[in-house]
């Protein structure tokens, strides 16, 4: 029997390393990594495709719910929420019959939660889980608001990019290329995930492989076939697909 690949997400170092340690002790599980924030979690889930995620609810920038929203409930692996005390979250977990662990938890409580997750995965009850996660993400307050900052790696340093600084975003395989004032930064987050995390009133997907910041749009040239080109303030031309035209018009509030 193959071991289940588990990802641990928690912003507190002790909690994170401790949990990974416990996972490693279970012969049926394999710890494939730990993440200290929501963005790292989205990257890891998309690239590593874990079988199970132990997900802290309260984290800076992208919280536990933000992670699920970014990945999309239908692609989200089974998840056990880990939380110290979030009243509204506990209520939501109970309502949607999702598993959660309360910090601090005993070894027995962790083992029980892991046992339930294993059974769910082996009995292939995942479609139910997708439904519940969809309901959960729909029910939690929208105040787990839109992304305001992303971290990018520049050489050995971690740099912070404010989303308002982004001109446009280009898909690059499973990653996304942020174009910021002439430089491009690659984040290992899919364009779809970014689209779900960004404020739809400011960022619009104009093409399968491009999101633009509406603030940077200089003009939009459309041809009779319906396709078009968005020209940004710095002269960059981004193709706009016919199929995305309605969405762009909706955000702009006028017909093109």
């Amino acid at each position: 029997m193959t071991r289940l690949r588990v990802l641990v997400v928690d912003d507190e170092p002790l909690a994170r390393t401790g949990l990974s340690e416990l996972i490693r002790k279970d012969p049926e599980l394999e710890s494939i990594g730990d993440c200290a924030d929501g963005q790292a979690a989205v990257e890891a889930i998309e690239s590593l495709q874990p079988d199970l995620v132990l997900l802290d609810v309260q984290m800076p920038e992208i919280d536990g719910f933000g992670v699920i929203r970014a990945i999309g409930p239908e692609r989200m692996p089974p998840v056990i929420f880990v939380t110290a005390y979030e009243e509204f979250a506990l209520e939501a977990f109970r309502v949607h019959a999702l598993d959660y662990l309360l910090k601090p938890f005993s070894d027995a409580e962790l083992a029980a939660a892991l046992g339930r997750a294993k059974r769910l995965i082996r009995d292939d009850g995942l479609h139910q889980l997708t439904e519940r996660l969809t309901e959960l993400v729909g029910s939690v307050r929208p105040e787990s608001k839109y992304l305001s900052r992303l971290t990018v790696r520049v050489a050995q340093r971690v740099q912070i990019v404010r989303v308002t600084e982004i001109d446009w975003i280009e898909a690059a395989d499973y990653c996304a290329k942020l174009h910021v004032a002439g430089t491009a930064h690659v984040v290992r987050v899919s364009l779809g995930a970014l689209e779900r995390l960004l404020d739809p009133a400011a960022f619009v997907r104009v093409h399968r492989s491009a999101i633009i910041n509406l603030d940077r749009v200089g003009e939009i040239v459309s041809d009779p076939t319906g396709d078009g080109v968005v020209v940004l303030a710095d002269g960059t031309k981004v193709r706009m697909a016919r199929s995305r035209r309605a969405a762009v018009e909706r955000v702009l509030g006028k017909a093109l």
Binding site: E12, A15, G18, E21, P60, E61, P104
Partner: protein, 359 residues
């Protein structure tokens, strides 16, 4: 809070007016009876006459009560020294007494200035003194009660912050994880720090003021627990001058600021953060800064209207009036910086009430 104060003021005014009315009734009755006894040939003073002769005085003085109260309140807020306060009260007493006499003369007809100064003024000043006594007693009892309530509030808030479920459970989780990884000594240290913090909140300490050194020690115990939780993500720097350490500050004034710095500077972001507590004395003022290097304060309404910070401002105002200042700004190097400026050599509310006994 304002509504409570208002009704309390109104109630006090109603009492004062009631007492004045009673005194007026006694005076009118006595005047009426005396005039009856001493008037031969059935000539006596009617009730109407008695009232018209006695009532104006009482009505005028009743009207003066709110004025005297407002004056006492203003003077107390100014926090002048004794000589200036006494002088201000003497001047105001003279103005009010003369005003009452002049207004009354409308009923009596003019009297010459000499008579006013020698016969009427002293008795009017005496009346003023009696009213002032009552007003002062009321004012200081109110200030004392308010200060007690504020201190109790601050204690409750600090305790609640220490017992905030999220904080407590995460701290306990840190202990659990330390035990699991065999780091027993660190686990015990953390338990001791959490216990210190609980004791700080529970200990029955009624002092309104402590030294800055004590206050910072308390904030450090809170930060110590957070340091375990955030490990490499939190760095605390404390820098106090010797003079600043000895300065006296309202108890628990730093707690909400430090908590705020942790919440916005550390918890709200993934990168490591630094929290600084710095204090120095400049002239007659103590300047305390609590800084974080987080994202900086959000639009004013989001941060300064937080209950904790609004209370900080209110407590400072109650204790030092306009002599103390509190600001929360973007730090030049990024992040937020909260600055307290507290006047030195001012016992909190020393002019208001007897100092509380120190244990």
């Amino acid at each position: 809070m304002p509504t409570v104060t208002l009704t309390r003021n109104q109630r006090a005014l109603a009492w004062a007016l009631g007492i004045m009315a009673l005194l007026a009734a006694v005076a009118v009755t006595r005047h009426h009876l005396e005039m009856m006894d001493h008037s031969p040939g059935g000539h006596y003073l009617t009730w109407g006459h008695a009232i018209s002769q006695q009532a104006p005085d009482y009505i005028l003085w009743a009207l003066a009560i709110p004025l005297v109260y407002l004056f006492v309140d203003r003077v107390a807020r100014r926090r002048w020294g004794w000589p200036r306060t006494v002088l201000a009260h003497a001047a105001f007493a003279l103005v009010v007494a003369l005003a009452v006499i002049l207004l009354r003369n409308g009923w009596y007809g003019a009297k010459d200035f000499g008579t006013i100064m020698t016969s009427i003024l002293p008795s009017q000043l005496f009346t003023y003194a009696a009213i002032l006594g009552g007003v002062l007693a009321y004012h200081y009892s109110r200030v004392f009660v308010e200060r007690e309530v504020e201190l109790a509030d601050a204690r409750l808030r600090a305790l609640r912050a220490q017992l905030r479920p999220h904080f407590m459970f995460n701290a306990l989780n840190s202990v659990a994880m330390l035990v699991r990884s065999g780091r027993g000594t660190e686990a015990v240290d953390t338990i001791a720090r959490v216990s210190d913090l609980l004791r700080d909140g529970l200990v029955d300490d009624d002092r309104a003021e402590v030294t800055l050194e004590e206050e910072v020690a308390l904030a450090r115990r809170y930060l110590a627990v957070e340091e375990v939780r955030f490990a490499d993500r939190l760095e605390v720097r404390v820098d106090l001058t010797e003079q600043a350490k000895a300065a006296r500050v309202p108890r628990l004034i730093l707690q909400p600021l430090v908590e705020n710095a942790v919440r916005h500077g550390i918890s709200a972001r993934a990168a490591a953060g630094r929290i600084g507590i710095r204090a120095r004395v400049s002239g007659r003022e103590l300047i305390v800064e609590v800084s974080d290097d987080g994202h900086g304060p959000a639009p004013a309404e989001q941060r300064t209207n937080g209950v904790g910070l609004r209370n900080t401002r209110e407590r400072l105002k109650a204790a030092y009036g306009s002599a103390a200042r509190f600001t929360l700004e973007h730090a030049p190097v990024g992040g937020a910086i909260a600055t307290l400026v507290i006047p030195l050599g001012h016992e909190v509310g020393a002019q208001h009430a007897a100092p509380l006994p120190t244990p």
